[in-house]
Symmetry: C2
């Protein structure tokens, strides 16, 4: 594996990728731009580790980690950014254009923790459920007549921009963001409590779960606050379980 | 074909591309970033026009032009930029890193004429002979352990940077650069004259031809000066031919 670079804590997550060639192309671009943490959520392609186009990326592919859910794949990351080609559709997330400023912000966040960059499958992209795990979304500025990019090319363009963006100077403010895994734990207990308390109407479970997760991510919780909050919701959930039985 | 964009006068030239998939990927990236002039020099792949991965790029591939030589492929361009992964080798050209500044310069030159961006074959890249047709070279800043990029990804990264770079304000200076074709004509006549006059030693023909071309390109000739110079070398070449017979 390559020496530790400034993108060492970047985690590239391919969600349900279909084509081994594209997985290989993504891996090759990662090597080109000095990042090596590849994670796959439910890949369709069993043979991806031998992907042909992965010149120089065999070791990276061999070390790629597989996960069943997005939540598990990003659990140790303190910033989760989803990529999307969609612009018109009313998204409930902040969508930012890939450019020097967005690159700088991600580079700054890499100073204090891991950042996950999510790419969806070739045909469908990321789903609303995947989006609910993201702090914000990133879009590559393309022509309106062809917004959808090839997966390997999208990964290459994002990593090129990240590698070329300098992090901004850290402010005095102490930044120690909670991991996505810690926030997911709070979200689960909070959602359980909301269900138990009758807040969630029948038939709206999936929608409310996504909404709860999104709200928790928007809080940009620091590690300490996440710990306090977890203690609170854990107690409430326990009490609601007791009352039920 | 897409509407005229700010990259309308950019010409993407693939020199001896081998893999139809890569040609298709390059075409797709061109559509993504709003450029549509694709030229191929001696493609190995006869079936490239049906390249599978070219989502949305069928019309662009159908309109791609084929040429036998680089000289013909860039004849109507007033700036010719070659891409290369090579850094260590002593190149006789100026090599610039792809970044906002290089992008801005190309965007500025696009205001006054066509610009050709050359990409070499997947295995070998551009040769010294191809380089001799270039005003300067461009390299994508990658990690030293893997400098070579996949062709389709290299095209995507370059076009992303060009699309995102604003042209600099034009100075008062009038810029009306000569085309590569006009400079090639001068080069050919000058080289013929140099041979006829005994300047070119036996066995050094190919080397001197490249050197002559490079010198002429470095002059950054304006259209008017190219016309005057062409008249001069044409007369000299004619006289030398007369003396010989």
């Amino acid at each position: 594996l390559p020496a530790i670079s400034e993108l060492d804590d970047l985690v590239v997550v391919l969600v349900r990728p279909r084509n081994p060639l594209n997985i290989g192309a993504a891996a090759r671009a990662m090597i080109n731009f000095g990042t090596h943490r590849l994670r796959l959520v439910n890949p369709y392609a069993a043979g991806f580790r031998e992907a042909r186009s992965a010149v120089g990326a065999a070791a990276l592919l061999k070390n790629a980690e597989e996960f069943i859910t997005v939540a598990e794949a990003v659990a140790d990351c303190s910033l989760v950014v989803g990529t999307t080609a969609v612009r018109d559709r009313a998204l409930e997330h902040t969508v930012r254009q890939l450019n020097h400023e967005a690159g700088s912000e991600i580079r700054t966040r890499l100073k204090s923790g891991r950042v996950a960059l999510l790419f969806g499958s070739e045909k469908i992209g990321l789903t609303n459920d995947d989006f609910s795990h993201c702090h914000w979304l990133l879009t590559i500025p393309t022509q309106p007549q062809q917004i959808s990019m090839n997966l390997g090319q999208a990964v290459a363009v994002c990593l090129y921009q990240l590698a070329g963006s300098a992090p901004s100077e850290l402010t005095d403010e102490k930044i120690d963001p909670a991991s996505a895994g810690a926030i997911e734990l709070i979200t689960e207990l909070l959602f359980e409590s909301l269900q138990a308390s009758g807040y969630v109407k029948p038939g709206t479970k999936a929608m409310f779960e996504k909404r709860t997760r999104r709200v928790m991510l928007r809080l940009n919780l620091q590690k300490l606050d996440a710990k306090i909050l977890l203690g609170m919701v854990r107690q409430i959930a326990w009490k609601l379980r007791q009352d039920k039985s």
